[in-house]
Subunit: 202 residues, 2 copies
């Protein structure tokens, strides 16, 4: 069954094909692909070009390090994410390096970088499943994060696997219909709650 | 002069071509293109599929509304961004609609959505320049934002223009070399500050 998005307006294939599976194949990810994924993140725009992101990366090839990283995920995510060949944690730097002032766009800009990583992954036939469910204190403890660095998300990377092999509850989530709010509900113009003219007339 | 990224590892053309110009052409953006851009944002992933984003949109076709939106940008951004045919403000919803709890990924997920919008823009020959420099209180006042909604960024959308027509200081910024930290500085493995093996050996 296709997991493609079903857009109301045509969008680029790389965005249509992107989805977040729970089932991963055990096929490993080549180092060259991993480099390209983080290279894609690297070229994201950011406020004052601060690039307020660090990623902690672990692959199944190093079981000890993989376990250290996987243990930073909430239990419910460990169930499926431990099968992914690659895991990462995104970390936001909450202050500008040039003057120490708070960077109010830090989280946002990490999001920009991870989205670019995900586009590159899709282009390479890989899938990415991001998780809000991490244990920030575990990340801090396991990796001795410096002050001002905030663990933000977990990221599972690999090739899509067989949803049939998942526990039932996850199988349902992996095959449920993909839904989104209509454009009219979140693109406003003039007044809050008023759909923008360019959207409502098209 | 090419404004392409100069990646150390090959990445998709849509990411290589993305950049944030200060100079915009006065060519308008078709409504169908605008719909596709926000459609691309719409299909971004988000924590619990909350889609914690709203966009306020204004085009030059409605000068009153365009001015209302442009006046929400800091002065330094108004100088160049008022030439763009389309402006938008991203707004983050800071609580989950299903239970009212704080959404710690709200900013991050807005970033994911805007990055997808930007990919779609690049695919359509458009450029996007995001701005941290907005006046949140002005956004709140001009658009009567409900509680829990946080104005996050300004977004200029259009076709790249002639940098020669910019004031000198912006001309320099529009033609300066594009730089990023090396991968080794932000993809760690094992210990904080230690470049991940997959990156360092490749």
């Amino acid at each position: 069954m296709s997991r493609d998005a079903r857009p109301d307006h045509p969008i680029h294939e790389l965005l249509v094909k992107r989805w977040s599976p729970y089932a991963f194949s055990d096929r490993p990810v080549a180092d060259a692909d991993l480099c390209a994924l983080f290279e894609a993140a690297r070229w994201a725009p950011s406020s004052y070009n601060e690039q307020p992101w660090t990623f902690i990366l672990a692959t199944q090839q190093d079981p000890g390090e993989f376990d250290r990283l996987a243990s930073c995920l909430v239990e419910a995510n460990q169930v499926w994410a431990r099968k992914a060949p690659v895991l990462a944690i995104s970390v936001a730097h909450m202050h500008f390096s040039r003057n120490g002032k708070p960077n109010t766009c830090a989280h946002h800009d990490v999001g920009l970088a991870v989205a670019q990583l995900t586009v590159e992954a899709t282009a390479r036939g890989l899938v990415v499943h991001q998780m809000a469910g991490i244990v920030p204190d575990m990340v801090r403890a396991n990796y001795q994060l410096p002050e001002g660095c905030q663990p933000l998300t977990g990221i599972a990377i690999g090739y899509a696997g067989d949803a049939q092999k998942l526990p039932d509850s996850l199988q349902d989530r992996d095959t449920a219909e993909r839904t989104r709010k209509p454009l009219a509900d979140f693109v406003y113009g003039g007044l809050w709650g008023n759909t923008a003219w360019a959207i409502s007339k098209t």
